[in-house]
Symmetry: C2
Subunit: 191 residues, 2 copies
């Protein structure tokens, strides 16, 4: 057996997270078809703590002009600060991303005034990479348009959340993360 890099998810962990996400989605009130389950991806971000830091993503549309995803977050699951930069090769300012709350509670943080009691609590060892603290609640029906190349991070409340991410072209591999430990496209360990 090849030793697992400490940040990698195992195939079993990956499949467990997909199953959890699909079950959770059944409560969220989004009409889906059974084959959509196979389009769920789990982003562990190479950190070895995917239930705490990471997310589940159901990609419904990945088109050169528009992307539609459902982001499925476990209770308190944290997505580290990142931004979607301009393309180095074409005239594209970076992904404009609409977040829209569908189910449960989540909180998005973007540049701007810091409120008195922000409801985000990043894991202690990741907190120093969160530099924007303007809170945008993403409860069902709430939405926010995040401009290109703008730092943001988010976290589910204590019961988990389902959020729409509706955007211009997604270029996930280009995402810039503030935390240098993050690997956006971390491989899965096939043990």
């Amino acid at each position: 057996m090849i030793p697992t890099h400490m940040g990698q998810m195992t195939r079993a962990q990956y499949e467990e997270a997909r199953s959890w996400a699909w079950e959770f989605l059944q409560k969220a009130g989004v009409p889906l078809h059974a084959p959509d389950r196979e389009r769920i991806d789990v982003a562990g971000l190479g950190l070895g703590e995917h239930q705490q830091t990471g997310l589940q993503i159901l990609t419904l549309v990945a088109d050169p002009w528009v992307a539609v995803k459902l982001l499925i977050l476990r209770p308190n699951q944290f997505v580290p600060q990142h931004r979607h930069p301009p393309s180095p090769v074409e005239d594209y300012p970076g992904k404009t991303e609409v977040f829209r709350g569908q189910y449960g509670e989540a909180y998005l943080f973007v540049p701007g005034a810091v409120g008195e009691r922000p409801r985000g609590s990043p894991p202690e060892h990741r907190r120093r990479f969160c530099t924007v603290w303007h809170e945008v609640p993403l409860l069902p029906g709430d939405q926010y348009v995040c401009p290109p190349n703008t730092w943001h991070w988010f976290q589910a409340g204590g019961s988990g959340a389902v959020i729409w991410s509706i955007s211009s072209k997604a270029t996930d591999a280009e995402d810039e993360f503030a935390d240098p430990q993050v690997v956006r496209m971390a491989p899965i360990s096939e043990d």
Copy 2:
């Protein structure tokens, strides 16, 4: 009192259609907030038959890169054949539009093979302007990505429908309709 052009909707008709759409949306399972009601528009298309030919549109996002709308259709309501052409002034191929069924039944028609028994029945006097007859069902959870500059029309089934329209930048005023009688931005008569 200024005489009403025969194709114009009256303010009372407009408000009645908005009220109907908002009530219908309550059944559709999309989380919304009360002020969203004010963002509903009614497109009567200048035809004087808005309950039969036209639609209600709740615009949730109108951004230079992404648009999110809910299309709310009365039972059998018909939206005439149109396309979203390239921009005459910038490098934009036209709106890429994702249709996604949310509630009820609707049928989208696009170029392609004609099925045996298409479930669209445009009003008789509009039918000759429907030249594409490849049927795409838009039941809850169904979706279709309509490329830029592609003719399409759609119609609700007998119980009405709510459809997501998620797209690249919307340029509604540029829409091309096959039926020359259609006026995309018809004024309302303030009688």
